[in-house]
């Protein structure tokens, strides 16, 4: 309990332990913020957290808090032990959508801090993995005013619940030589197009987008997004022969064999008379040789993206990785980007119309079967969708399907 002194913290012996150690301490940060602003919600939150550390149980429960016209974007939290810690009785989160690639100007961030200190706790998650700026700790009756002020400065809420979620994208062309498409721009286009679905939970369940500029997948898109948009290329890896030679000369051939040749997943690289040869036909664009020999090699010239669908967390089925759905599509021009957005909408609509409640895209595809999914979403079948054709004979082809028709005998 507060002891009368507004700027005095209550004892939190367990949390205090987390102030030590070399890594930046969030407890230190919280205390500092409290000391600076005297916002008692912080003290309440610390008290409750310390209590959780004692009892090893959590004490927040959800509810419904929102802003005018939106159905999502605020995560509401009410304390289950507000009799003990009344200062953090309400502790809702406002999810703000940042710019693609998590780029900020100091000016814009200061604006956010100012508004947030005015209405909320001043506590902020700068969240990398999932995208949102999570402003944690606000009371329900201040949410609308806070939002209005953010919105006036050009910020909008992110997703929560059964809707399109805030997306994530890698730094991309802004600073990365591997980038095969404009992650920031495509992210922006896509999320702007789906803004309505971000704000209003009208879907069977959540839908996430992540944009990585190349197969290194620095946003973990395959694993964390229903729609993983990943840069790739056609044609040969670009080779700077002089740099290849320089690399071999400096590292030695043993190193090159043991670190490049033997690591190529498809044996696409062979050793030939003391140098290496990339057999581009066999290359699966894994990035490894390019990563190792970054000066000598770079992605091919004809660039686009792959779309993988159905990545999601562990719930119910075990972790699902996204599956290849569109192996290659160009997204450079406005028209190409629009066509891409339309394709995605086609998939999203088919899922939205047919999935069960709380069924993510990946679960949906697994339940109805890839064949029915491709038919429903009107996507072309491609061998790239699977690591291999089926190994069991358990299917019934359409009665009018004649597999031999297209084969010359």
């Amino acid at each position: 309990m507060a002891d009368g002194n507004e700027f005095q913290l209550n004892p939190t012996p367990l949390l205090d332990d987390l102030e030590s150690g070399p890594w930046p301490s969030f407890i230190k940060g919280f205390k500092e913020q409290f000391k600076k602003t005297g916002n008692t919600m912080i003290r309440g939150a610390l008290d409750q957290l310390n209590y959780s550390y004692q009892t090893k149980m959590g004490y927040w429960k959800g509810g419904v808090v929102g802003v005018h016209g939106y159905g999502a974007g605020i995560i509401s939290r009410y304390s289950m032990v507000s009799d003990l810690f009344p200062e953090a009785k309400e502790f809702h989160t406002v999810r703000i959508q940042p710019a693609p690639g998590l780029h900020y100007s100091s000016k814009s961030l200061r604006e956010i801090c100012d508004i947030w200190e005015k209405y909320g706790s001043g506590l902020i998650n700068c969240h990398g993995q999932s995208g949102n700026l999570q402003l944690i700790g606000i009371e329900a009756d201040k949410v609308q005013a806070a939002f209005d002020e953010f919105n006036q400065k050009g910020w909008d809420l992110g997703g929560a619940g059964a809707c399109v979620r805030t997306a994530a994208s890698c730094v991309g062309p802004a600073r990365c030589e591997m980038s095969c498409y404009d992650t920031l721009n495509v992210h922006h286009k896509m999320l702007t197009y789906f803004t309505d679905l971000v704000h209003r939970p009208a879907l069977p369940y959540k839908a996430k987008f992540k944009f990585s500029g190349c197969p290194n997948d620095c946003t973990n898109a395959i694993q964390r997004a229903d729609y993983a948009v990943i840069g790739t290329w056609k044609g040969d890896i670009q080779v700077d022969e002089a740099e290849v030679k320089a690399f071999i000369d400096s590292k030695g051939m043993d190193y090159v064999v043991n670190n490049v040749v033997t690591r190529c997943p498809t044996n696409a690289i062979t050793m030939e008379s003391g140098s290496i040869k990339i057999n581009n036909d066999d290359c699966v664009r894994c990035m490894h040789c390019i990563n190792v020999m970054t000066k000598a090699l770079s992605p091919g010239k004809e660039r686009g993206v792959s779309l993988l669908c159905g990545g999601k967390g562990i719930l119910k089925v075990g972790n699902m990785l996204g599956a290849m759905m569109i192996p290659f599509i160009k997204v450079d021009t406005e028209e190409e980007q629009e066509a891409f957005v339309e394709l995605i909408e086609q998939i999203l609509d088919f899922w939205a119309d047919n999935a069960l409640d709380h069924e993510r895209l990946g679960e949906f595809i697994e339940r109805i079967g890839m064949h029915a999914f491709l038919e429903g979403a009107e996507l072309d079948t491609s061998i790239d969708m699977v690591t291999h054709p089926r190994d069991n004979p358990y299917f019934k082809a359409g009665y009018d399907h004649d597999p031999l028709k297209e084969i010359s005998l």
Binding site: D282, P393, K396, A397
Partner: protein, 358 residues
């Protein structure tokens, strides 16, 4: 009535192999050092003792006769000290320490119409099943298909010019007694069973038949007042499992039981783990006595493999390197949506990476 029995059965189990071994095998049992292949169809094993043993391998009819076998026995007596063996691919093998015997034996075998080969990186004899000759559920004649294919790939049996060993199989129903192979030809039913209600109630153990269906498509019903079964057509995946349980579940059909080609099965643990083979062509019509379409396609796959694979790459490993896309391109086969798995573990075959070839 059979005559009174005078013999009491001795449940002897399998005979002991020892007495059937060539003396050089007995002497060097478990003490072999290395082997070479002096020519296609011939192995040279060298023992720690320094002993050398040649093996000559020859193709057979597989559906043999007493007459054929006695002829092999004659050759064994003449060149191999009275011993011979069959390989797991129905080839016959004769062993001898004498190179002269090898050459004479090869000549005799060839004169009798038996090709010598099947060793090393060649196409060995096809593993096949009973077919119309003997089985009670076949939708094709595996022996005929096998003979037709072997006639076409004959030239690859007698030389060692493949990247690695090539194992073929054919099976006469989806059960696939012929097993996994680099290239397999198997029946693929394309329509649900037609139910012969006239005989069903008399011969069918209905609960077992219902239980046999992997997708629970079979349900009890009543037809003409008699208990019978029905099949929910949308569910049925035409596997034919019910037909094995009950002959009234007539899955076989002269037109709708087609052939399919599978590739990339691998049993050995060399390099990659054993792998099931994958479907690459279906809907091939029955064309006895020669099944020309099957032969053409098998040959085309073999040619592409021979042309494209690196030394030691088995069929499936070659495809893993070049990718399925290129496999379909170079063989002229056509990947279609039905080749995407939709069965129990389908999800595990999805490409959950950006690894892709263009």
């Amino acid at each position: 009535m059979a005559a009174e029995r005078t013999w009491t059965t001795i449940e002897s189990g399998p005979p002991n192999a020892w007495d059937f071994l060539h003396p050089v095998c007995q002497k060097n049992y478990g003490k072999w050092k290395y082997h070479e292949r002096p020519r296609p169809g011939v192995l040279k094993h060298v023992a720690e003792s320094g002993d050398v043993l040649y093996t000559v391998r020859a193709g057979t009819e597989r559906q043999d006769t007493a007459t054929i076998i006695r002829r092999f026995c004659d050759l064994a007596d003449k060149y191999a000290d009275g011993f011979l063996r069959w390989t797991v691919r129905n080839n016959v093998e004769f062993m001898t320490p004498s190179w002269d015997n090898v050459e004479a034996l090869i000549k005799d075998l060839n004169d009798l119409g038996h090709p010598v080969g099947g060793t090393g990186p060649s196409v060995s004899a096809i593993a096949h099943t009973q077919g119309w000759l003997h089985c009670d559920i076949p939708a094709t004649d595996a022996s005929g298909v096998a003979k037709s294919i072997m006639d076409i790939v004959y030239d690859e049996y007698i030389v060692e010019e493949m990247p690695n060993r090539v194992k073929l199989s054919t099976s006469c129903c989806e059960i696939n007694c012929g097993g996994q192979a680099d290239i397999a030809v198997i029946i693929q039913h394309t329509r649900p069973p037609r139910i012969n209600h006239d005989i069903l109630s008399g011969i069918c153990e209905m609960p077992s038949t219902v239980a046999r269906c992997p997708v629970a498509a079979i349900r009890p019903t009543t037809v003409n007042g008699k208990p019978s079964l029905m099949v929910v057509e949308e569910k049925c995946i035409c596997c034919g499992a019910c037909f094995g349980a009950c002959p009234a579940m007539e899955i076989n059909h002269p037109d709708y039981s087609k052939l399919a080609i599978w590739v990339g099965g691998k049993n050995s643990n060399a390099r990659t783990a054993p792998a099931n083979m994958k479907l690459v062509c279906h809907g091939i019509p029955q064309e006895p006595p020669r099944w020309p379409a099957v032969g053409t396609l098998v040959k085309r796959i073999l040619d592409a493999y021979k042309d494209g694979a690196r030394d030691w790459e088995r069929m499936g490993e070659w495809i893993d390197r070049i990718g399925w896309k290129r496999f379909f391109e170079t063989t002229g086969l056509k990947f279609d949506t039905y080749m995407i798995d939709t069965y129990r573990h389908a999800r595990t075959s999805f490409n959950t990476s950006t690894h892709v070839r263009f």
